[in-house]
């Protein structure tokens, strides 16, 4: 017998509970809305925020004078001509307020003895601008602090283990969501006056990635199917020095970055020689080469046969005195020792790893998509970071966009009045029973990840991208029209089906945009079109669904104001 439908009603539904989702829930509640904060996993512990061990860029000026316009100039320069200047300005201008708000909530930003908040210098920044919580605790501290505030908000209802499968649209407006409870498989329909998607990025599409396993582009797929546009989908950021070997457990693979800046970790090829400057970079004593360029340098070296045994580069701190290592790494050095790593005597191997996605859902300054009632926050938003994100901007963006999206959604829900349930054909998929799967769907997801890593990774060609599109189409045929089995408790086979359905759509969007962009820019590098072509390609590509198929479009870039251009120059 089919499980009865569980119906919920709220003013604002927030999907995803990383920093962006929690910030949105808080601001919507403060604006008077009743909020349902839903996550497919545990509330406040899934997504990328808890994985962000590092730094948050913001013009506080606590180390030396700074202004958000300087931060904006660096953001726009890193974005390689594709930042939406309005969105980038919002991040840089409103960032300091969010950092101070978290400080007031006792997040624990690292401080000098005189009380000033410490700010570290990170690549691409013209001055020390990145705040942090010591010893790789930044993301977890931010998540824990926000979660503590959410718990105090009487009007926020939290629901974990709730998978959102679709957003019903009636009269052109998003009316809520349908999905199912992971714990028992019960179908769920949520009526909402407004929906905020804060599901993070899509790095799960890649075999080696630094994000959570639940970041497979859920929000991108939900937005597309609801009628919204995606933008800049071809720009996937690879983090240049993701840990590769020896195998580390219990550590974030992107952990090396802050230590590299702080201590001057040397990036070496198989010949033991520093090589980053061989690729047109001018890196001196301070490591300041941006992520796209460092990724390009490492992978070029590997292609030239000078990579490390595991297929990356060596990162060495062997020249740093042991006392300094101990001081900088703190307790982390003991965790490394448990993994058999002694930095005084050995280099580790690092390689680019899928880390962040600059593209996402196209929104206006209120974080609203072209579909009324549908808002987006955090990494799921397109535009603020252009073709390459500046180090430290992700948490800033999550906090700033989250707050805006929550406020906007609360206003929209108030105007919409009491939410009414809306039907969705997807409920039939959620409630229906089918024969067991013939295909191993977990294996199919791994196959997609391998395909994306090989053909739609940091280096791309028309031939490889065509192969990827063919592989995606084959996987879609194998996926079939209905999820396998019947609703039940924690059925990963069924979840894999829904996940692969979304991942294939989003992978096709990334690949289609990458094939169309016949130039190299930022994180999008085409071996067959190696140069940046501003005359033809200084524009955004958009994607939307038309009669069930992806359709490419173009949109102009919102240019920076004159003052910002002067800063960049």
């Amino acid at each position: 017998m089919a499980e009865p439908l569980v119906e919920l009603e709220t003013d604002v539904l927030v999907v995803g509970s990383g920093a962006a989702g929690m910030a949105a829930a808080l601001s919507a509640a403060e604006a008077g809305a009743r909020v349902l904060l839903a996550d497919r996993s545990l509330v406040g512990r899934s997504g990328a925020t808890v994985m962000a061990q590092m730094t948050v860029a913001v013009a506080l000026g606590s180390e030396q004078p700074d202004h958000w316009e300087h931060h904006l100039a660096d953001t726009i320069a890193a974005g390689r001509g594709l930042c939406d200047a309005d969105l980038a300005e919002i991040v840089c201008r409103e960032g300091p307020e969010e950092i101070r708000r978290l400080d007031g909530w006792k997040v624990g930003w690292a401080r000098h003895e005189d009380g000033r908040i410490r700010q570290a210098q990170a690549p691409g920044h013209d001055r020390p601008r990145c705040v942090y919580v010591d010893f790789l605790s930044t993301g977890p501290a931010v998540a824990k602090t926000l979660r503590g505030r959410v718990l105090r908000q009487e009007t926020v209802t939290r629901v974990g283990d709730l998978y959102v499968a679709d957003l019903p649209v009636r009269d052109g407006t998003v009316r809520g969501a349908v999905g199912f409870s992971m714990a028992d498989g019960r179908p769920v329909a949520i009526a909402a006056g407004a929906v905020v998607l804060a599901t993070g990025g899509l790095t799960r599409l890649y075999r080696r990635n630094s994000a959570s396993a639940n970041m497979g582009g859920d929000g991108h797929a939900l937005a597309l199917r609801a009628g919204a546009e995606l933008m800049d989908m071809e720009f996937v950021q690879f983090f240049p020095i993701g840990h590769l070997a020896p195998r580390l457990v219990g550590m974030d693979p992107i952990m090396w970055d802050p230590f590299r800046y702080k201590l001057g970790g040397r990036l070496l090829n198989a010949e033991g020689r520093e090589f980053v400057n061989d690729y047109g970079n001018e890196e001196g004593a301070v490591y300041n080469v941006t992520r796209d360029k460092a990724t390009h340098a490492i992978l070029s070296e590997v292609q030239a046969g000078r990579g490390s045994p595991a297929g990356g580069a060596f990162l060495s701190f062997e020249h740093v005195p042991e006392a300094r290592l101990r001081e900088a790494f703190g307790p982390v050095i003991d965790r490394l020792a448990k993994n058999g790593i002694d930095l005084t005597r050995m280099a580790v191997e690092v390689a680019p790893i899928a880390h962040y996605h600059m593209g996402g859902v196209r929104v206006d300054a209120a974080m609203e998509t072209r579909v009324p009632g549908l808002f987006v926050a955090g990494e799921t938003v397109a535009g603020a970071n252009g073709a390459n994100r500046l180090s430290g901007n992700a948490i800033t963006e999550a906090l700033v966009f989250g707050r805006r999206a929550g406020e906007s959604a609360a206003r929209r829900a108030e105007a919409a009045g009491r939410a009414r349930p809306a039907g969705s054909e997807t409920l039939e998929l959620i409630r229906g029973s089918s024969p067991a799967a013939e295909l191993n769907l977990a294996g199919a997801i791994a196959e997609l990840q391998a395909l994306m890593a090989e053909q739609v990774g940091p280096f791309r060609t028309a031939e490889g991208l065509e192969q990827a599109l063919a592989g995606i189409a084959a996987l879609r045929r194998a996926l079939g029209e209905r999820p396998p089995g019947a609703p039940g408790p924690y059925d990963l086979g069924r979840l894999d089906w829904f996940d692969l359905r979304s991942m294939l759509l989003v992978a096709e969007a990334v690949t289609t945009a990458a094939l169309a962009r016949r130039e190299s820019r930022g994180a999008h590098q085409r071996d067959d079109f190696p140069l940046m072509d501003d005359a033809a390609w200084r524009l955004h590509q958009t994607l939307s669904l038309k009669d069930g198929a992806l359709a490419l479009g173009r949109a102009p870039v919102q240019a920076p104001r004159a003052a910002d251009i002067e800063e960049v120059a």
Binding site: V43, T157, A183, M251, Y490
Partner: protein
């Protein structure tokens, strides 16, 4: 599909909530791997029906992958896979949902709690 005989293997004996008999899997062993790596290998290559839970992959930040490993409670993402027989069971003091997955969400973050707060879940006209 099992790994070639000459490769060292980890032999995982998984006691699954909802099933009488334990499932046995042979996983190719590489030094440094975690138990979670082994379980993910099982799902992608041997038995996709096996239910496990994890959000982060091996950073030990989501804290979702806690199970019993050879009788001791620990995180699958930090426990090392070893080239021998290893016995895996769900947490003893939590409600079992399926296989190695237990109900670990706080009671006030479960669906029934939200339904109660939402006014019983009925349609309102």
């Amino acid at each position: 599909m099992t790994a070639p005989a000459e490769t060292p293997t980890a032999r995982l004996v998984v006691h699954r909530t909802g099933r009488e008999e334990a499932s046995r899997y042979e996983v190719p062993y590489t030094p440094g791997q975690s138990v979670l790596d082994g379980l993910r290998y099982v799902r992608a290559n041997l038995d996709p029906s096996l239910a496990i839970r994890h959000s982060c992959i091996n950073a030990n930040t989501c804290k979702e992958c806690m199970i019993r490993i050879d009788g001791t409670v620990g995180y699958a993402c930090t426990a090392r896979l070893e080239p021998r027989e290893m016995e895996l069971r769900p947490l003893p003091n939590k409600t079992g949902l399926r296989d190695l997955v237990t109900e670990i969400g706080p009671p006030d973050e479960r669906l029934d709690h939200a339904v109660a707060r939402s006014g019983g879940g009925g349609r309102e006209d």
